[in-house]
Amino acid sequence: MSANDIIEPRHTVGADGPYWQALAEGRLELPRCEGCNRWHWPAVFRCGECGSWDHRWHTVATEGTIFSWTRTWHPFDGSEGIGVPFISLIVELPQAGGRRLLGLLEGDDRNLRIGAPVRGRIDATEIWGDRIPSLRWTILDGSAA
């Protein structure tokens, strides 16, 4: 898809509603507790640590390191729109207290390893014909060093 395509958010009222809304607008936002400054992911309605109901959503750079990965070869029902093989990533975000987000790897995978630095962008993944806003990650050059 082109960057100008609008991906309609499919969820807006859950604890993670602002995440989907921001993603649809081309930004990555994650919530941080106003009471104790803890980053929460998955999003919560109430901070179970300090009891606060107040959270502020912060724009976070789509930069992190690979926490784990798997390359899927079996064409699981629903994944036809992605096409095998594809690589799913868990990415740790140092700017969000080490919280982790999921996404797909795109581009060169020669330096694929846990700890490799990645940069992301927002796109959509087609699953069972639905377009789901999601992150695409690229391994940064020189990461093999």
Binding site: S68, W69, T72, S88, L89, L102, I114
Partner: protein, 388 residues
């Protein structure tokens, strides 16, 4: 929570009907009723006197619908453990024991049923319970994939040698090949085929993944006192724990101790409430949805660590009769068959009765470790002696 487990409850009868996937001769209720009646006949118990039922893993067979087939006189206890996967299997025995010990029911059947024509593919059903757009957007559609992510972390970051997965799979297939009721009966695992099988989701190849079967399993539980008057030697439930520790759960892959199988708090409570240690366990039915999760389960329960896992998880160590900890002595989910793990609970009972096709000499205790890596997990210990 670390109180002693003080229920006096035993498994008195077991019944298992297993078929090839999509080959069951009846819909789920027809298969399940037969398994329950089998369990009652095994115990010498009138099915009409069963007054409680517990399932797990989103079983679709609401107990009230079984009453006409079983002749149930009164339904007193009807519940199931939360969670779409097999994590709740052992916890189901704790729920049954709670009902019996508190007098809310007197004869409780733990069951699980799976017929593809009714419930679809198990992998799909399990994942639907947990799926959301965060996972789907990353292409994570099947349980194999999140388990693969955890496995990759275990192998690459924690440096568990890949070879241990093969040792575990070999042990399950060794026992399955010697169990006439197993789908892999008579068929040894071809190591070359294992090592070169097609990838499913790295690091898992085909034989690192459990099978799916149609069928139903049922276990009848009653008080120890009542069990002594029935046909078979009672197998006592001596401890059981379910749940999740803080930092574990349905957390979009943000769990602490990510590469584990999630049993840290459950295993701690299980050992505390029984006063037993891993050294006291004579054999284990170790739910292996995927090979690496079986390894993680052994580590979580304290049988070994990331550092010495390769010393412990050796084929010779894991097989009956001579291994230090024979596992999955009927073949397990890999090689016996997979009705969401219920066959493993039944093998725990058969092993402690001396009825296993791969007997462990003088086995007195058997660990049932439930579905690893699930948001809610559970484990139980059975014994043919009362342990207090």
């Amino acid at each position: 929570m670390s109180a002693r487990f003080n229920a006096s409850v035993s498994v008195a009868g077991v019944g298992l009907r297993q078929y090839r996937r999509a080959k069951a001769p009846w819909p789920e209720r027809g298969v399940l009723v037969r398994a329950i009646v089998d369990a009652c006949e095994d115990a010498g118990f009138d099915p009409a006197d069963v007054d409680g039922f517990v399932a797990y893993g989103d079983d679709k067979n609401e107990p009230v619908r079984l009453m006409s087939d079983l002749g149930t006189k009164e339904l007193c206890w009807s519940t199931q453990i939360w969670g779409g996967g097999g994590g709740g299997i052992a916890g189901a025995f704790g729920v049954a024991a709670a009902a019996i010990e508190t007098g809310q029911a007197s004869a409780v059947v733990v069951f699980r049923t799976l017929v593809q024509a009714d419930s679809g593919r198990l992998s799909g059903a399990v994942m639907r319970h947990h799926l959301n757009d965060h996972l789907l957007g990353a292409g994570l559609i099947s349980p194999a994939q999140p388990c693969a992510l955890r496995a990759q972390r275990m192998f690459e970051h924690h440096q568990v040698p890949l070879s241990v997965a093969e040792e575990l799979v070999r042990a399950s297939y060794y026992h399955g090949a010697r169990n006439p009721n197993a789908v892999s009966y008579g068929k040894e695992l071809d190591l070359d085929a294992y090592r070169t099988a097609r990838w499913i989701a790295e690091p898992f190849r085909l034989f690192d993944c459990s099978r799916e079967n149609d069928g139903a399993g049922a276990l009848l539980l009653v008080s120890d006192a009542r069990a002594r008057d029935l046909k078979k030697k009672p197998v006592h439930l001596v401890g059981v724990a379910q749940g999740a520790g803080k930092g574990w759960g349905d957390l979009l892959e943000n769990d602490d101790d990510y590469a584990s199988a999630g049993f840290a708090s459950v295993a701690r409570r299980l050992w505390q409430q029984t006063g037993l240690t891993p050294a006291d366990i004579d054999c284990a039915q170790l739910y292996e949805n995927f090979s690496a999760q079986g390894i993680a389960s052994l580590i979580d329960h304290g049988f070994c660590t990331y550092e010495n896992v390769a010393e412990f998880v050796r084929f010779e160590n894991l097989i009956a009769p001579s291994g230090k900890l024979p596992i999955n002595t009927a073949g397990g989910n890999f090689a016996e068959g997979f009705i969401h793990g219920i066959g493993m609970a039944i093998e725990a009972v058969r092993q402690l009765r001396g009825e296993s096709t791969n007997p462990v000499p003088d086995a007195k205790t058997c660990l049932l470790a439930g579905g690893p890596g699930a948001p809610t997990v559970s484990s139980a210990i059975f014994s043919n002696e009362a342990i207090r």
